[in-house]
Amino acid sequence: MSETPDTPAEAPLARTPLDALHRELGARMVPFAGYEMPVQYPAGILKEHLHTREQAGLFDVSHMGQLRLHGADAAAALETLVPGDLLGLAPNRMRYTQFLNDNGGILDDLMVTNLGDHLFVVVNAGCKHADLAHLQQRLGDRVRIDVQFDRALLALQGPAAVTVLSRFAPQVATMPFMSYGEACLRDIPVFVTRSGYTGEDGFEISVAADQAETVARLLLAEPEVAPIGLGARDSLRLEAGLCLYGHDIDETTTPIEAGLTWSISKRRRVEGGFPGFPILRGHLDQGPNRRRVGLRPDGRAPAREGTEITDEHGQIIGHITSGGFGPSVGAPVAMGYVTAAFAAPGTPVHLRVRGKALPARVVTLPFVKQTYYRG
């Protein structure tokens, strides 16, 4: 039998501050975005996935890039690169947006938090160096960039996440989804956002590298918490209908095609002032030619990234960008782009898997109910 080889490393792989802990826990380490990362622990992807939906999972996402943008003008400056409304972002609130190119294509997606006198930005691991160069080149002296790529980031996700984190920092219990707070876990200062990438309630915890392992061990010692690898992180976010950069969104897809219109405020849709605005405006006015949709194969066979989507007569109408088995759904799930005429939920399509046309339906995303805490 064949096994998919891991991507060969081009440069020596970096390690996160939790590297030794992952190995101690028996993780299987794989190359990902220039880092050696845990793809799974001995429990395995299925159990890790289900544990996160039922209790709480701890993820090491320290490979992601953390930045601080200082300067009185930082929000206005960053708005020239993204379609998100940052001037309208209240203090201690967080927003999802995208760096766009002049065609309205997505260079990266990111989270921006307003910390009053500066912005806290989290970007994807695989894009962080390019993002930094982009910020430096395009914003120049308008902002002072404090690069914190060495800082650790942990995600505590699942219905028990709030119970667990509240034991150390009771004030987090009332934080609404997409908000920011500062806390001490025992005596370790951390920055907490109520956010994540699983569709579950939960937190992302930014901590100094040399204290990350202590925080991780504190959380893992709680009975509800298990360590979760990148494998389950991917199946959890797929079920939650969340985009993975480089797969579901990239430089060739616009936020409108990707179904991310909700992340662009009315003001910004009218005023523009970001790269690719004319193209996005056209997509908003006339509708895009293609849309990202959810797909549910009728049978048991998973359809993976790259699979052709056809109409019932075999005409190609798009491709799958993420697909696999959804452990909580208990069946295969996928997402991909289809010609706009086929984007309505319920539309029957075929997926070409190993030469066979497998029947599937277009469905509304997400595949599982999101359980964010709105306060």
Binding site: M1, S2, E3, T4, V39, Q40, G44, I45, L46, K47, H49, G231, A232, D234, S235, R300, A301, P302, R304, G324, F325, P327, P332, R354
Partner: protein
């Protein structure tokens, strides 16, 4: 008395008379992780040594299962359709994939016996 042989691609074949039962090894199921789908060949189809005969999918990825020898498929393990996890729990028993009637039994001599396969695995580590 049955004979079991292994391939370097981590399939096994257990031969009784001119019928061989094929599956993937414990090493293979462990490397793949949780199996969520198995695509089996059709009964009656001819398979050729070293070419795709079945597909096994974990949460993360799909992998081909190669025919260890030439033959004609005589049975498939339909239980895997409902319970693909049998490949994880009992790879050399209830997790078998298909049976074939050997058309070139001499090919068995090219395969690894138990000890040779174990040495091969140790070499991979």
């Amino acid at each position: 008395m049955s004979l079991i042989k292994f391939t370097k691609d981590h399939e096994w074949i257990r031969v009784e008379g001119d019928i061989g039962t094929v599956g993937i090894t414990n090493h293979a199921q462990h490397a793949l992780g949780d199996i969520v789908f198995v695509d089996l060949p059709e009964i009656g189809c001819e398979v050729t040594q070293g070419t795709d005969a079945a597909v096994v999918e974990s949460v993360k990825a799909a992998s081909e299962v190669y025919a260890p020898v030439d033959g004609e498929v005589t049975a498939v393990n339909d239980a895997l359709t409902e319970e693909p996890a049998r490949v994880n729990t009992d790879p050399l028993g209830e997790g078998w994939f298909f049976r074939l009637r050997l058309t070139n039994p001499a090919q068995l001599d090219q395969l690894l016996d138990h000890d040779a396969y174990q040495s091969y695995l140790e070499g991979l580590a």
